[in-house]
């Protein structure tokens, strides 16, 4: 790998479809966790 002449595209490659699905899953799980925390605070006051 020629680091001096490197193009950003050498480093940051678009994720493959399988990995894209994994990343979406990660974000969905985070969203679910955050929603659960929000529901917890709504349900028990404060």
């Amino acid at each position: 790998m020629n680091f001096e002449q490197q193009d950003t595209r050498d480093v940051i490659q678009p994720p493959a479809p399988r990995m894209r699905a994994t990343y979406i899953r990660v974000l969905l799980v985070e969203l679910i966790v955050l929603l659960a925390l929000w529901a917890l605070s709504r349900a028990f006051g404060g």
Binding site: M1, F3, E4, Q6, T8, V11, I12, Q13, P15, M19, T22, Y23, V26, L27, V29, E30, V33, L34, L37, W38, L40, S41, A43, F44, G45, G46
Partner: protein, 552 residues
């Protein structure tokens, strides 16, 4: 402590050192010693990543945070899953393909040796000192709560860790981290169960949550955009994102974790494990603190949780005032207990208001007691929040569970220290010794020097811990230095990966970034979580400018 608890703690220490020493045979070359010959399974690396980040300061301080402030602190981690995704797309495959030993090795290939050496040196200084703080913080707390000798406590935490890390290398670090995560989670779950079981008749988990919720302790979203506030949704999503990118992407103690993975895919999966589990784990730890708060609604807590400070006030000329405050505290506790029972049983806005008022009275009395401590000790920053959980564990839990939780605190400290020692040794040998002093030696020689370097940093950390324990302000100095450095280091990697900045630009950019953070820190009240953003911006601005000027 009961003898059974001592046996549990001793058994844990023997078990974990033996586990670490079993890895000695697999670490007979430096690629095995530093990178486990790039052979670790993703789940072991993932657990090691989580254990490295979960220090005893986190375990003790976060539970105290939960007791005092509830779940708000979890916002700090909201940016973490996004950070893990960004790193999985960028540096993880890149570092793996580059076959580097350290993150800073890449900086020389991209820029020059000067930039690499500066970045690695800053890492060594900040991590070397923070390793001492990671030992000191739980050692001080345990020595006070359990009345252990401070130096022996520091050595009890530091020496076993140095031993298995020095001899077993990163394989010992990783496999002991895996086991220590189980100890920590088992301890946390066991204490959680004990807290729920300790709730009085007529107060279940739901009522306990309602009591906590009525004081705002279950709030997990603060959307105010106040840069002076540390724990808000925005500081977590943005400031926390940059902090996590820097910590997991540019700090050798974490980068080295996923460099040991078998493949790029396994390295990614190891980081994504944190993305899934870190926030729920933090909620669990914070909830322990919340339930300790509920526990102490029905069992009178000490007015101050640090017994040493309490003893100093009692022995001083303000002991009369302190005794009077204790009388007020007992009466206020009884009122709060009654209000808590009414709220738990009947509910309603009026009960909640009465309970909150009673809780506020208790807090006001504690604040006055803390003021007496400040007058006696001269320490205007006094807070006893870090002593709440250890005090609860050692005075309220049954025999056996005390030992398990003390072992968990040891596990949390040792897992972090081991990873840092391994990273410090790697950076010392690869970035300095092999790079500048002895570039053409045999693998056997480097292995020997690596073990010496690990031992050196371990002893250094124990010595720093001894000083840090006595100079509380040193902890703050170390943390501040780290916060100046992290964002700037991330900025250098952004310059390296995403721009065509020159070596001169990168070097001066790194210094410029740190100067920008120092200026912001000393002239504003902006929360430290934003320093990483400032550091990145400073490095990019200075680095790109110098690069452009140097090309003319």
């Amino acid at each position: 402590m009961h003898s059974i608890d001592w046996i549990i703690v001793a058994a844990y220490l023997v078990w974990i050192v033996a586990s670490g020493l079993r890895q000695v045979k697999r670490s007979d070359k430096i690629e095995g010693y530093f990178l486990a010959s790039r052979s670790m399974p993703w789940w072991a690396v993932g657990l090691s990543v989580m254990a490295t980040q979960l220090s005893a300061i986190t375990l003790v301080g976060t539970t105290g945070q939960g007791y005092e402030d509830g779940l708000r602190f979890v916002q700090f981690y909201y940016g973490l899953p996004v950070a893990m995704i960004i790193l999985s797309v960028t540096v993880v495959p890149f570092f793996h393909r580059a076959r580097v030993y350290t993150a800073y090795e890449y900086l020389e290939r991209r820029f020059d040796a000067r930039t690499r050496s500066l970045a690695s040196l800053l890492f060594l200084i900040s991590r070397g000192l923070s390793c001492g703080v990671i030992i000191a913080a739980p050692a001080v707390i345990l020595s006070i709560i359990l009345q252990w000798n401070l130096t022996l406590t520091i050595l009890a935490i530091g020496l076993p860790t140095v031993l298995y890390t020095m001899l077993g290398g990163v394989q010992a670090v990783t496999w002991t981290d895996v086991q220590q995560m189980f100890v920590i989670v088992a301890g946390a779950l066991a204490v959680g169960a004990a807290l729920v079981l300790a709730l009085p008749e007529g107060v279940g988990a739901a009522q306990a949550l309602r009591l906590a919720g009525s004081t705002g302790r279950l709030q997990t979203f603060d959307f105010s955009f106040d840069l002076n506030q540390t724990y808000t949704f925005w500081s977590g999503m943005i400031g926390g994102l940059f902090l996590m990118l820097s910590y997991f992407g540019c700090d050798q103690s974490q980068v080295q974790r996923y460099l040991t993975a078998r493949s790029v895919d396994e390295a990614r999966r190891s980081l994504l494990m944190s993305a899934y589990f870190k926030i729920p784990l933090q909620v669990l730890i914070l909830l322990l603190g919340v339930f300790v708060f509920v526990f102490y609604l029905f069992h009178q807590p000490p007015m101050l949780f640090n017994p040493v400070h309490e003893a100093r006030v009692r022995a001083g000329n303000q002991s009369g005032q302190y005794s009077a405050l204790e009388g007020e505290f007992a009466a206020a506790f009884a009122q709060r207990q009654q209000a808590a029972r009414e709220l738990a049983q009947a509910g309603g806005a009026a009960s909640a208001q009465e309970f909150r008022a009673a809780d506020a009275r208790i807090e006001a009395i504690r604040a006055r007691a803390a003021e007496l401590v400040m007058n006696v000790s001269g320490d205007r920053t006094y807070r006893d929040v870090n002593y709440v959980f250890p005090a609860f564990v050692t005075t309220q839990l049954p025999v056996g569970l005390v030992g398990l939780m003390i072992a968990a605190i040891f596990a949390a400290a040792m897992s972090s220290i081991a990873a840092e020692l391994s990273a410090l040794s790697t950076a010392t040998v690869i970035d300095f010794y092999r790079r500048h002093l002895k570039p053409q030696a045999e693998d056997r020689h480097y292995l020997f020097v690596s073990k010496l370097a690990t031992g050196f940093w371990g002893i250094f950390a124990c010595v720093v811990a001894t000083f840090a324990a006595q100079l509380g302000s040193l902890i703050e100095v170390v943390n501040r230095f780290g916060s100046y450095f992290y964002g700037s280091l991330l900025g250098v990697f952004v310059l390296a990966i995403a721009t065509r900045a020159s070596a001169v630009g990168a070097f001066w950019g790194l210094l410029g970034g740190m100067a920008a953070v120092a200026a912001v820190a000393n002239t504003t009240n902006i929360s430290f979580l934003w320093y990483n953003v400032v550091g990145v911006a400073g490095v990019l601005a200075a680095g790109m400018t110098v690069s452009a000027l140097s090309r003319r």
